[in-house]
Symmetry: C2
Subunit: 119 residues, 2 copies
């Protein structure tokens, strides 16, 4: 898996609570609050290398968890599958005449949207 | 989460590779291969309490991982959501006259089935 912001966000979402308190806090400030290493260091009263070290360890711990569980991969595949479903259901709804069946198709499209957002 | 066979199977599916080799092996023999503690002990040449201890530790390690990540809960909810989707899509397919729209609805029902089985 690449190191893109989405992948890191998903890793943190699933595995953040398995990090040490320090790793979680510094990672969160650096990646999610967009602070620089120097800013995190100043805020927490530690050295910049200490922040970098914690952030690196957080990333490698979460990558190890992903390698062993495949959770983020499965989640990403599920999301792609739901998007494809949504495309087909919208196509179906558009092809149906106004009426109960069309409304049911639209309801299904909404259900898929909710399911996707709830992951 | 309860201690039912499905819950344990899901926990092991997601978190089994994060256990120690011994925990994983004994848990697998006991729960998935339906061996008794005494049978596992005999097979591995260790005492029955040693097997029980490893199985208990495996369970509590996996429960801790679930408490921190909510992975099994999220995927169980996703599965229930997909089952409900499937019910509605089948209802829709049954209400449509023979034709392209009905076939598309059936295709969508099949896609949902695949997505559900791929979790």
């Amino acid at each position: 898996m690449s190191d893109g912001p989405l992948e890191l966000a998903l890793l943190f979402d699933f595995f953040g609570d398995l990090l040490t308190d320090t790793q979680r806090e510094y990672f969160d400030l650096y990646y999610n609050d967009d602070m620089s290493l120097a800013e995190v260091a100043e805020l927490k009263g530690v050295s910049r290398p200490a922040v970098l070290d914690a952030v690196k360890k957080a990333k490698s711990a979460m990558r190890r968890l992903e390698d062993k569980t495949g959770v983020v991969k499965r989640f990403t595949e599920m999301r792609l599958g739901l998007m494809e479903l949504q495309r087909k259901v919208s196509e179906l709804a558009a092809a149906l005449p106004e009426g109960a069946e069309m409304r049911l198709a639209q309801e299904i499209a909404n259900d898929i949207e909710e399911l996707k957002n709830g992951i």
